[in-house]
């Protein structure tokens, strides 16, 4: 393995991940020795509005996929309205390919807890919830332990650090539903209902949890708050690009030599990431990849130099998403990959709206037909037509996301589909899996 060039290594920006190397950073004693809770002490001396302004100045954008400006979101919370305010952390990590929040919560849970306290103070919330994916049991163990330690040390509860500020924090485990990563579905789930998305408006900023003003932020977003409070907005903006500031954890998986988490300055390219990750595995050539999980349109080898920030990826026709970079080679079939993702969306569709529930159900069946060698040319039109009817017409982003890999794989790899249909590729699925496809 060759060493990456110095200019590529300079793209690494260990900020959110920097404590992971300390094996005991999940214990409060170790965390405190590593700048822990220093940001909280500093923040509690400032006016909440100044903290909101600080986050606005930093240009921090949501790390959960949509990239909404965090300071703006906090600023939407009406102040002095006499209603309780809530902070809800979206820790329902489940987007295929995404694996950045679980290690953060497992190895540095106090970073999230500290961020929660500062953010809650800024938006004047006295209750906060971390909605963590049910399956993430070890992260939840460490997080619950961290919350208890924080209570014991006086960082949570009544009169935090004698500032007069009170906050209760509850870690709430989900129960295995991808849709609960959608913020309004998450709120419904947290209220004890089926996790189905709500019609917006009204937005959570005014009618969120218990119909009260609520901020819903991703784990990475909230964990970014303490370093910004400590280092300042100007320091934060030394990383990343003009409109996508700061570091981002890029999760690389697939046909590369060293899959893993690489925290880099936003705007790094796949070419540089591959260099950091030791290149493609022997015998594999890059064929297609997702810039930010399976809900973002696939990109191909020609996009190696696209800057991976919000604007750069959008200009290339895809979405930065969760920076879950899944890398596939010439030995992987884009048709099969898309089929498997569709099975996922079909399984996870909450059933509330027709386009997503029915569209994914039928697209899965069309894919099974194609992959078993019984597809027709008309099937490709059917797929595009179905996507037309799902994208933007489903109730929430889950349906939109399902169409991403279908339309993008048809755009870049139509020949692969035709090879199945015209019999040049051997069927990948056997006929017995063909149920109700006709």
């Amino acid at each position: 393995m060759t060493t990456p060039r110095p200019e590529t290594l300079a793209k690494l920006t260990p900020v959110l991940t920097k404590r992971w190397l300390s094996p005991d950073a999940w214990r409060i004693g170790t965390y405190e020795q590593l700048d822990g809770y220093a940001a909280l002490r500093k923040a509690l001396k400032a006016h909440p509005d100044d903290l909101i302004q600080l986050i606005k100045d930093s240009g921090l954008r949501g790390r959960g996929g949509a990239g909404f400006p965090t300071g703006l979101k906090w600023g939407f919370i009406p102040q002095g309205d006499g209603k309780p305010h809530y902070l809800v952390v979206n820790a329902d990590e489940g987007e295929p390919g995404t694996c950045k929040d679980l290690p953060l919560m497992t190895h540095d849970p106090h970073a999230l807890v500290e961020g929660v306290i500062i953010a809650s103070y800024a938006i004047r919330a006295s209750r906060a919830y971390i909605y963590i994916r049910g399956e993430a049991v070890h992260a939840a163990r460490r997080l619950r332990n961290a919350v208890q330690e924080a209570y014991d040390k006086g960082y949570l509860g009544r009169n935090i650090l004698r500032s007069g500020y009170d906050l209760e924090l509850v870690v709430h485990s989900g129960a295995g539903a991808y849709i609960c990563g959608e913020e309004t579905a998450l709120l419904d789930s947290l209220e004890g209902f089926r996790g189905q998305p709500r019609l917006r408006p009204p937005f959570p900023a005014t009618h969120g949890l218990y119909a009260s003003p609520t901020v819903v932020n991703n784990v990475g977003t909230i964990a970014s708050v303490p370093p910004i409070v400590l280092g300042g907005a100007d320091w934060w903006k030394t990383m990343g690009t003009e409109k996508s500031s700061g570091p981002m954890i890029y999760s690389l998986s697939g046909r590369i030599n060293n899959p893993g988490q690489y925290e880099c300055s936003m705007g790094v390219t796949l070419r540089e990431l591959l260099e950091l990750a030791g290149g493609m595995q022997p015998g594999h050539n890059l064929r297609f990849w997702t810039p930010g999980g399976s809900s973002t349109p696939l990109l191909a080898a020609e996009h190696l130099d696209v800057p991976l920030d919000f604007e750069g990826v959008a200009a290339a026709g895809s979405i930065l998403g969760t920076t879950a970079t899944q890398i596939f080679s010439d030995q992987d079939c884009p048709v099969y990959a898309t089929y498997r993702w569709l099975e996922f969306y079909h399984h996870e569709s909450c059933g509330k709206c027709t386009p997503c529930r029915e569209g994914n159900y039928w697209m899965v069946r069309v894919y099974r037909r194609i992959l078993s060698g019984q597809g027709t040319h008309e099937d490709l039109d059917t797929l595009l037509d179905t996507c037309d009817n799902i994208l933007g017409r489903s109730f929430c982003g889950l349906g939109d996301g399902a169409t991403s890999s279908v339309t993008s794989s048809l755009k870049y790899f139509k020949q692969d589909y035709l090879d199945y249909i015209e019999g040049r590729t051997a069927p990948k699925l056997s006929e017995k899996t063909l149920v109700g496809a006709h």
């Binding site: 094996p23 049910g134 209220e191 408006p201 990383m239 130099d305 909450c350 037309d388």
Partner: protein, 388 residues
């Protein structure tokens, strides 16, 4: 109908409910469903009744929730839930082969339990550990980079009474013990929280940075937080500066792609322009409306989904998005909501949360009176409308 739940479970149920605001006890429903699984291994009709009783809901309301989430099992489970990821990435890296091997080896299919009651097998969707793929979990703790033979080794050891150590995560407990943790209680086992250091993929980027002494320069933890007055002053100065140099901002907005290799970065203007018209590939029956811009449809839709200060939502009434950074005007929505409330009597399952407790109690009493007469069939949880 009587339920069999122990005093310990009842005490825990009270603790769970106390975590949430007094008038929002329904929030306790998900942890309570985990709790009844901790005692019975699945959500039984009795478990549904228990949750309904302690929250003042009816059984249909609880059943509707229990059947929505995949982690609530609807038939008895084994001591160990073995989940193999077969989503795309793990799938192509060999996860499907692992799953197929286990199906054959154990003689059970998806969501089925071995005859000895040890193992319940399932194929799972993305388990958020793609850098360790293919992965498998036992009671949700990770076994990384499995292949068919290691997977068979793990299940054989489990069936032989052993407790193999997960690659990451804590030493194994039973599925029922795990459900207690899922209900929000601490893992009381000595050393369990400390188990499981980070694996190499998690640390890879960090190690590179450490080996080559890369860090982010200029970090000063004592950087002051600017007060609003100072910020306003700075903003005013910046504005004055910008006005003095008028053409500058235009230039900035015309080059949105920055920070990468400028020469090779695609610009919005030519993305797709050099390619054949995508419409040619489509036999779509959707009306051929000209796109308002040349963004990819997914990007355009995503932007509409996440309106910000600059995104208009033209076709939805009451969705005026403010053009400055003030809060969205809630008045339209509020008056619409008030009108809706006035026109419609709340149903028992109405939203927002906080069901009218009186009506539920009435329902429960009526239901009780009805079923007590002949002691017959309480609603089966598994028949309350599965969605998936």
């Amino acid at each position: 109908m009587t339920t069999t739940f122990t005093d310990e479970t009842r005490e825990r149920a009270r603790e769970i409910i106390a975590r949430y605001p007094a008038d929002r006890s329904r929030s306790a429903l998900l942890p309570l469903l985990h709790l009844v699984q901790a005692e019975e291994g699945y959500v039984s009709p009795a478990g549904v009744t228990f949750c309904a009783e302690v929250l003042g809901l009816n059984k249909a309301q609880v059943g509707a929730v229990a059947t929505f989430y995949t982690m609530y099992k609807r038939k008895p489970t084994g001591d160990f839930l073995v989940s193999v990821c077969t989503n795309t990435m793990c799938n192509v890296l060999g996860g499907q082969e692992v799953y197929d091997t286990l199906v054959e080896h154990l003689g059970v299919g998806h969501d089925e339990t071995t005859a000895d009651g040890t193992i319940t097998l399932e194929h799972a969707e993305c388990l958020a550990a793609c850098d360790y793929g293919p992965v498998m979990t036992v009671n949700y703790d990770f076994f990384d980079r499995v292949d068919p033979s290691t997977a068979v080794g793990v299940v054989d050891e489990l069936r032989g009474g052993g407790r193999p150590m997960p690659t990451r995560g804590a030493r194994l407990c039973t599925l029922k013990e795990m459900a207690v943790q899922l209900a929000g209680f601490a893992d009381e086992r000595d050393g369990a929280v400390a188990d499981g250091g980070p694996g190499e993929p998690t640390l890879r980027g960090l190690r590179l940075a450490q080996e080559h002494n890369v860090s982010v320069p200029g970090f000063d933890p004592n950087t002051p937080i600017r007060s609003k007055a100072e910020a306003d002053k700075a903003a005013a100065e910046a504005k004055a500066k910008a006005e003095a140099a008028k053409p500058a901002p235009v230039e900035a907005s015309a080059a949105p792609v920055k920070g990468g290799d400028g020469a090779s970065a695609p610009t919005p203007g030519n993305a797709g322009a050099g390619e054949p018209a995508p419409a040619a590939a489509s036999g779509s029956t959707a009306p051929d409306v000209k796109a308002p811009d040349d963004k990819s449809p997914q990007v355009r839709t995503a932007e509409t989904r996440q309106p910000d200060a600059g995104t208009a939502v033209p076709d939805a009434p009451g969705t005026k998005v403010p053009t400055d950074s003030t809060a969205p005007e809630p008045r339209d929505a509020r008056s619409a909501e008030a009108a809706g409330v006035a026109a419609n009597e709340p149903a028992g399952d109405g939203k927002p949360a906080g069901d009218e407790a009186g009506a539920q109690e009435r329902n429960l009493t009526e239901a009780k009176a009805g079923t007590d007469a002949d002691g017959a069939g309480p609603a089966d949880a598994s028949e309350t409308g599965a969605q998936k």
